[in-house]
């Protein structure tokens, strides 16, 4: 029972990060190979605050999320300008991931490559569920707002978006910061669940898992990536698949989806619309 509970908590924590990346990649159409770095920032910031400074958990979580958002500006401001293509951001965040790992491995306060053990396990299922629910609620409202509409316009056609009055740079930056905040929150919850964090837990491979969930779940959907994220965490556990084979599968999945079904599972629509369509068809009979 405990085992299943921890899988559920892990899955929910992952879903929060996936939600963040979904806003950036699924709804704004920007490619990122490194959102795990923001998870790391959130994890380490909140862990350091509770471990060394005995900051209350909720505050530490908020600080972690805020730190991740602030850090994203370092990468975002030079690379998301209107005239620069998304490749620049992708390269920069790859570089950032490496730089962050080096920094984490060499500071006293982060305890280096050995990692930070003994973090209080403040994270419980109710807390995670509250965060996830709030996260989905806020994401939905964001995407329906004028900023969300601007993000989606950029995904569809950046030139036309500008002609509709969208400020490219500001909107891309906002999308990045929001996604980073979500990842930071996820990191904080993760650190206080696993009670132990290490720099090697936040690498390219973790970023790949996030991206795989967004793509498989479907770009432009909130429910799709959440479902995919849950499946990606729960299924391998159930099948007891080794980590490296999981990644082989993710890699292959990404290619296959792009080639054969780029919209993934729920691309550009939601579970709720699918269900209502099925119900309507049922009524018509």
């Amino acid at each position: 029972m405990d085992y299943i509970l921890s899988i559920v908590i892990l899955a929910c924590i992952n879903m929060i990060a996936v939600l963040g990346l979904s806003i950036f990649t699924g709804f704004t159409g920007l490619f990122s190979l490194g959102h795990a770095a923001f998870v790391a920032v959130g994890a380490y910031t909140s862990a350091i605050l509770t471990y060394y400074y005995e900051v209350p958990f909720i505050l530490a979580l908020a600080a972690g999320a805020a730190a991740a958002g602030a850090v994203s500006l370092i990468i975002g401001i030079p690379t998301l300008r209107a005239k620069l293509r998304s490749d620049y951001f992708a390269i920069a965040i790859l570089g950032f991931g490496e730089a962050l790992r080096v920094l984490l491995e060499n500071f006293e306060i982060t305890n280096g490559a050995r990692g930070l053990p003994g973090i209080e396990s403040f994270t419980t299922l109710p807390i995670v569920l509250v965060c996830l629910t709030a996260g989905v609620f806020v994401a939905r409202n964001f995407l329906r707002s004028r900023w969300g509409a601007a993000c989606i316009a950029i995904r569809e056609d950046p030139v036309a978006a500008e002609m509709a009055g969208v400020r490219l740079f500001r909107t891309r930056l906002l999308s990045l910061v929001v996604s980073a905040v979500y990842c930071g929150l996820s990191g904080g919850l993760l650190a206080h669940f696993l009670s132990f964090i290490q720099p090697v837990m936040f690498t390219l491979l973790q970023s790949t898992q996030l991206l795989a969930a967004v793509i498989a779940g479907g770009m432009g959907s909130i429910s799709g990536p959440l479902i995919a994220s849950f499946v990606f965490i729960a299924l391998p556990e159930a099948l007891r698949v080794a980590q490296m084979w999981r990644l082989v599968a993710y890699g292959l999945l990404l290619v296959l989806i792009m080639v054969y079904r780029p919209q993934g599972l729920m691309g550009y629509s939601e579970l709720s619309t699918l269900i209502s369509r099925i119900l309507k068809r049922g009524e018509a009979r």
Binding site: F142, A149, I152, E156, D157, E162, M163, A164, G220
Partner: protein
């Protein structure tokens, strides 16, 4: 700016791409309330001029005066806010969004919302949202698209997509509307209908229209003045009648065939 000044005044506009001079010391004016046409052979630089006016390209030389400012090199969204809107030769819609959402997006960008209020889904925000949706629906109706409000823009037939693009451009409340080959791919009946629509839009919304076209019947019937471009610069300008008689224009572009002279109302 006095009513006598032109709405848009372009002087000596030039733009180079590597070794190629796409637009070469181009000078023209657009007077308020007119439907001005730009014609010319392919590669004459017409769309480049549009791109320069709307801020997609920065001029290599020259000025673009609008509302008393030289807008050359301004960012596109700033120019949109100043009151210039455009449609595109290759139709750039938000394909996976509904028609309503296509028109709603620019409306929302013009409105002040509270960020935190939006995230929380506050009643104030929801009211504004409802109001804007109503306005978007109105705009769609003005162009006869209300039936397709919740259809995905990308699934619409070609002619309706063009109309949707115009509706979206109108949502930015422009004083100058740039239409880039709005009749491209249309048959004569559709072209006539479009000509009517453009005239109606000019009346209803009290705006000035500048359009690029190859369909001569459309241009000659609703545009005045007509500007002729060739090799990136001005070849001639005048009323449709004057242009038709201009030998240089005929040689460069129009050819010797007869042009159908149909009334825009026909």
């Amino acid at each position: 700016m006095s009513p006598r000044d032109p709405l848009l005044s372009v002087k000596g506009l030039s733009r180079d791409f590597g070794g190629i001079r796409a637009v070469d010391s181009f000078t023209f004016d657009v007077r308020e309330g007119t439907i001005t046409g730009i014609i010319g052979p392919n590669g004459a630089g017409k769309t480049t001029v549009f791109n320069l006016v709307t801020g997609i390209y920065r001029p290599s030389a020259g000025s673009i005066m609008f509302c008393g400012e030289d807008i050359g090199g301004f960012r596109p969204d700033r120019i949109v806010r100043m009151g210039i809107a455009r449609t595109f030769q290759n139709i750039r819609l938000f394909n996976r969004r509904s028609c309503l959402e296509n028109v709603l997006t620019p409306l929302m960008q013009r409105e002040k919302f509270s960020f935190l209020g939006a995230l929380a889904g506050s009643p104030g925000n929801r009211n504004k949202d409802r109001k804007l949706r109503g306005r978007a629906l109105e705009l769609l109706s003005e162009l006869g698209l209300e039936r397709h409000a919740s259809c995905q823009a990308g699934t619409l037939p070609y002619g309706l997509q063009r109309k949707l693009e115009i509706a979206r451009a109108l949502a930015t409340e422009p004083s100058l509307l740039l239409l880039d080959e709005p009749a491209a791919g249309m048959n004569p009946e559709e072209t006539r209908s479009l000509a009517r629509l453009i005239s109606e839009v000019r009346e209803k919304f009290q705006i000035t229209i500048l359009l690029i076209e190859h369909h001569m019947d459309l241009v000659m019937n609703i545009c005045s003045p007509v500007i002729v471009m060739n090799f990136g610069t001005l070849l001639a300008t005048g009323t449709p009648g004057e242009i038709r008689e201009n030998q240089a224009v005929v040689d460069a572009y129009l050819g010797k065939g007869k042009i159908k002279n149909e009334r825009a109302a026909g």
